[in-house]
Amino acid sequence: MTAPEDKPFEEWDRPRQGWMLSGDCRGHRQRTLLLEMTTRALFPTVLVFSLYLLLVGHYGPGGGFAAGLVAGLAFVLRYIAGGSDAAVRLRPPVLIGLGLTVALLTALAPTVVGAPVLATTKLALDVPLIGHVETQTSVFLDVGVYLLIVGVVLDLLRSLGAGIERDMREAGETPS
């Protein structure tokens, strides 16, 4: 790293992990440093946890719905801490459509091999380093549900979160 003294602060210490928390900070009166730091640590952790819930659904509490909600709540936390997001451009309708598509394709895929709609079968893989992995094809249906739920939560954030915030700005009110 070059000498920081002769450069302005923003150039050498601009947060690079934009995906963890948008660097776009609101007025300093609305900032809580504690929440921002916590979110930086929690956001990726919660996302990983949501993936865990997604995959463990067959064997314990979890599944696509719960996992999607957990991931969505991670984004909620991120919005509350860092305001509306410019760094991660996920378009909720695309995500919702993707989820619905994945679920429908999973539902229809068995018909290609002559099985009834939504039939499932066991998938067993031997992955190097990890070992024997077993899962069901129905996990793809769960993935579809997961994507759709994340999209629904993001849509909620966009409309009720950022949308209302923008309305208030336009109406000349200060967000409280």
Partner: protein, 778 residues
Amino acid sequence: MLALIAAHLVVAGLLPLVSARSTRAAFGVAAVLPAAALLWALAGAGPALAGGIDETTAWSPALGLELSFRLDALALAMIVLVSGIGAVILAYCIGYFRPAAPEATRSAAWLLAFAGAMLGLVLADDLLTLYVFWEITSIASFLLVGQGGERKEERRAAVQALFVTVFGGLAMLLGFVLLGEAAGTYRISEILADPPRGGAVTAALLLILLGAFTKSAQLPFHPWLPAAMVAPTPVSAYLHAASMVKAGVYLVARLSPAFADLAVWTVPVLVAGVATMLVGGWRALSATDLKRLLAFGTVSQLGFLMVLFGAGGRVAAMAGIAMLLAHGMFKATLFLIVGAVDHATGTRDVRELSGVGRALPGLAVAAALAAASMAGLPPLIGFVGKEAAFEAFLHGSVENWAVAAGLLLGSVLTVAYSARFLWGAFARKPGRDATSAHGLGPALTVPIWLCAVAGPVLGIATPIVDAEASSYAAALPGDPGYHLALWHGFGLPLLFSAVAVAGGLALHAARDRLAPAAGLSPLDAQRAYEKTLSGIARLAVGVTGRLQVGSLPSYLSTIMVMFVLLPGVAAVLAGAWPTSAPLYHDLIQVPLAIVVVISALAVTRTRRRFTAVLLVGVIGYGVGGLFIVDGAPDLALAQFLVETLSLVAFVFVLRRLPPHFTETRPSRRVRVPKAMLGAVAGFAVAVFALVLSAARSEPATTSAELARLTPEAGATNVISAILVDFRALDTVGEIGVLFVAAAGVASLVLATRYDRQRRAVPAEDGEGPPRQEEDVLG
């Protein structure tokens, strides 16, 4: 046959890719398939006329659904129109549309899709298959008439065509179901072989006729057809002259051999047919737009065809086949000629055109050929058909003679508007300069001539038409010795034909006095249609205004009152109380329940929204805790997550709402009834829960079964196995609901702000995609 139809639809789907490079090439590609279909049908003409070619594909054997098709004489005649004229018109489109015009791209794909659907319609040997293709043609017509939907009259005409034909189509579906159930089969050939009888069949036939009448623009449903003339001329020529509007006639022709002995079938058909023929012909005499003139002519001719096919006699049916072919040929020719005249002069108004015949003599000759066939002059196919038609009704009962008189009057009108068409399009009008016209390329004239020469060719080749018509009419009662021919000797039919021509020409000579009278009409079906629509709209507004008052308390109280009255009372009266209902079975339930109850009571007392939201959250988490105690971690997890999310959503919304529910404390008179209703409803829910928990009379076998099957689904978690395996279809449905809900919320919240803004500032112009759409789509 299925492959051929599917090929139409698939190529239509891919056609925009070709259009992107060249719309002319797209029309060229599109014309190939109908031409191939025509050749295929002609190649199979021998066996088709001898008995018919069947093809059946089981689609869903469990539901008894199949796609069955049958090529026989009637289907063959229709294919000549659908595919033969279709190919010619698609070729004509190459020269008609400006290259890269947006309506060219759209029309190419939809015309071909329509050709496929229409082919399916005429080949279908199953009532439900027929219905599906029937509706596809309605939708294709809607899209082809509406085009971009930029002009008001396009939208109005498209919607009218859709409303009228789909209304009839739905009635027809009901009729099909009644008929299919009465007959025990939906196969048309089987119904024809053994026609059912009875009260249900009477209702079925009336409903089916409603469908046929709307589709074929019979009185009083006819105004949609002249209105649909806003479509590009090739579309009018193909859909609204040659093929689609004949679907109703086709349906009548298809079912007549089985039902023509029933008065419920023949009387409506004959009355509506003759009335339509007369009204259409009369209204054509006042039309100034050439396309509208032809459209009223089509209405009139469709009435004529209805009469011929609905009468149920052998000779009438043979005349019907001849007229069906003749009408398709001459009307397509005339429409294409109008398109060419429009192309060359820029107008199709009778009052503006003058001397076009001298500028475009070839076109005038083709038009004269077609108009002569329409008027019924020898040696054209139209003459053959009309002779047979008169012959069919000039015998026997008084009703027959009455129909014959109606047909004669209709024919007089037909001759008159045929003459009016030729005069209007090509004649030199006194006191009016010749309209300037540029020459026409072969792309326009060759298809016109192809259609125009069909009249004399079919007239001379009458024996071929006769073979076709005899094969269709074989099943019908009547003189088995009659054959279609150009010359039957002197007799009443020839006299009628002569009277029709002379009367028609006389009417045309008196056009200056007649046209204003023909424009007046005491009953206007178009106005009746508009009145019906506005009446329905007013009714809808009235009902909605009374039911949807926009007050949350009133909605809630309606729901609660209904809940207390119906299931609540039923539970109290018929339910059994549980024999053993312990207050709790785990000590930790007690504090959880106390927290939930206290929060619930507190919610009713609070006046601050924020407090209420937090208390509702406490209730939710408390219930989640109860789930954990009862050993349902999946449920508890979902409950906690949803509770958290709804809390967040509430808080987001609260930013824009006043902190208190009401400014002042509501009066006692409002609060007491609300509190009572709430208490009663809450009590009813509690009773309901208790009674239902005792309602199980058998042990919970399903639960045990599910638990047993869970390892088979590859899971150890029964909830997950239910969600993604046993009840996976439910899950797919539910996420569909979620998708709709999310789209609804986003649209409501994001799009309404533009409504608010529009109220503040003047409306922005309609250019470009609306910003709210971009916003909602993210």
